[in-house]
Amino acid sequence: MLEESLELLVEKNTAVLKFDGEVIFDNSNQLKEEAKERLKGKTEVDKLIIDLSKVPYLDSSGVGVLLSLFKFMRTREGSLAIAEPNAKIRRVFDVTKMTEIIPVYMSLEEAVNQN
């Protein structure tokens, strides 16, 4: 069930982590641990893009997952970007000024090219 809601695609040094479904208190810890576990084996990855195109909603625990992955990549001296958040999630990023520390792109393609 959890594996279905998380997909990791790696190409060279760039990884795209795709969440499918809400990222909320109920599943946030498992998703965070699973994502980190998969990334641990991919030491060549220094650019992580989180694809939120299939995420309708993030609560504060969901924001916590993104911040935790932001720190994970920073520790690796890598970078994190967000791709395709819906308007509601985009608003969360704008209002909480998270866009100042994590770049947000409207499409995955743009994120891959820019990142």
Partner: protein
């Protein structure tokens, strides 16, 4: 030939019967074994089920305990400046959430006459478990420590510095990097009539309602406190808003505002309510929003804490009296004089309101605080007593109307305005306070 064939058939039949009998024997044995295995499995299953139920019960009990700790941490009462009305509402999530709020008078010691200030804060920590209760304790403890160790009476308070202090302390504790704290801290300055604040993490604004102006949204976003971000010393600036007379502030954590019902979000509906009923004083506006919110959600309890505060600085003549058995007679005259100023209005309910107040002044056994407001639109009395409940008073005056009863109107026709009549006495009660309101005009909205 026929006999031999018959014998062969008989032999074959006997062999078949023997084979079938043997098969039946083994099948019966296998069935018994399976039955036994099923019984064992079923016993094992029952044991496992019992264990799961016990674990669930255990978790529930622990969460219930944490929820009680969280509830006990919430202030019994909020400090209310003399010329303000403040009302709060808190409904925890199914188990426990991480919302907390408080208002207290800042101690300036001998300099108190020069600094009449109140600290107001609310926060929401991520998650809804025991961890969030521990985080709430940590944030409260940090604020308390700041005033014990960092702030000297008479010293200016910077909400930005206070925020930084909490952030730095949080980083030192090295909380997990997926936890975060959304925090709003403000200083209400009664000398300057301003509210200076710093904030971080909230998705939704707070609202300012001033008499002649439209609803003003005040963004309280910004980066939350998180070990993933590290200490952010210069990120959360201090901002100031005026708090003139006839102003109401509506403050809330995200739980109320992001509650959805179908495709609707309460955030939009709340704005309409605030615009329409901004004439209502804080306790009554709180009751109305509470009713409206539960009409909106229906049976859906929601997964987050619901926390909001209404802070209202009304216009008009205000009196604040502290009554005890010794001074009750003298103060009674003062109160009657205050009520009688309104006798010119020939208000049909003025007599009943007088009876209610007098009933509380007679046989006064404990201290009673009275705050009353008189302006062109309404007359309000607030009675505060921590020792007596208000149930018998409400029962003695069945003509009193609660705004929470108005939810029936809303439920039947959400589009229709709630009409407030000058023929009624409205009341709103909390643990130690009760408010009465008389409208001097019909349909103020």
């Amino acid at each position: 030939m026929n006999q031999s064939l018959l014998l062969l058939i008989l032999f074959l039949l006997a062999a078949l019967i023997l084979y079938l009998a043997a098969k039946l024997y083994f099948l019966k044995k296998e069935f018994k074994w399976l039955e036994l295995e099923q019984e064992n499995n079923s016993q094992l299953l029952n044991k496992k089920e019992l264990k799961i139920k016990e674990l669930e019960r255990n978790i529930k009990v622990k969460l219930e305990k944490a929820r009680n700790i969280h509830q006990r941490m919430l202030p019994d009462r909020l400090a209310e400046p003399a010329d303000y009305f403040i009302s709060d509402y808190y409904q925890p999530a199914e188990y426990i959430g991480g919302d907390y709020y408080n208002i207290f008078k800042i101690d300036h010691g001998a300099m108190d006459p020069f600094f009449d200030q109140y600290l107001l804060y609310f926060f929401d920590v991520s998650g809804h478990g025991i961890d969030s209760t521990l985080l709430s304790i940590f944030v409260n403890d940090s604020i308390e420590n700041y005033f014990k160790l960092r702030h000297s009476p008479g010293e200016k308070i910077s909400t930005r510095e206070l925020m930084n202090y909490i952030d730095q302390r949080y980083q030192k504790e090295d909380f997990p990097d997926d936890y975060l704290v959304c925090l709003f801290i403000a200083v209400l300055d009664r000398k300057k009539n301003t509210l200076s604040y710093s904030s971080g993490g909230f998705q939704y604004p707070i609202y300012k309602l001033a008499n002649q102006e439209s609803l003003e949204e005040i963004n309280i976003g910004g980066l939350p406190i998180s070990t993933a971000l590290g200490a952010l010393k210069d990120s959360r600036q201090e901002k100031t808003v005026d708090f003139k007379k006839n102003t109401t502030l509506f403050l809330s954590t995200d739980g109320l505002l992001e509650q959805s019902s179908g495709s609707e979000i309460y955030f939009q509906q709340l704005q309409q309510i605030l615009k329409k009923y901004k004439f209502l004083p804080a306790p009554f506006l709180k009751d109305l929003i509470r009713s409206d919110f539960y009409n909106f959600t229906g049976d859906n309890q929601g997964s987050d804490d619901i926390t909001f505060l209404v802070i209202d600085r009304p216009q008009g003549e205000l009196i604040n009296l502290h009554l005890s058995r010794e001074n009750a007679e003298g103060k009674k005259l003062e109160i009657m004089e205050f009520i009688n100023q309104n006798s010119w209005s020939n208000h049909s309910q003025l007599g009943t309101l007088k009876d209610i107040i007098l009933s509380q002044l007679e046989n006064l056994n404990s201290e009673l605080k009275i705050k009353a407001l008189n302006n062109q639109q309404l007359l309000i009395f607030s009675l505060e007593n921590s020792e007596v409940g208000w149930e018998s008073l409400i029962n003695n005056f069945p003509e009193l109307t609660s705004i929470t009863e108005k939810d029936l109107n809303l439920a039947h026709n959400q589009l229709e305005d709630i009409l407030f009549s000058r023929e009624e006495i409205y009341f709103s009660s909390s643990k130690d306070r009760i408010y009465f309101m008389l409208l001097k005009k019909e349909n103020l909205n």
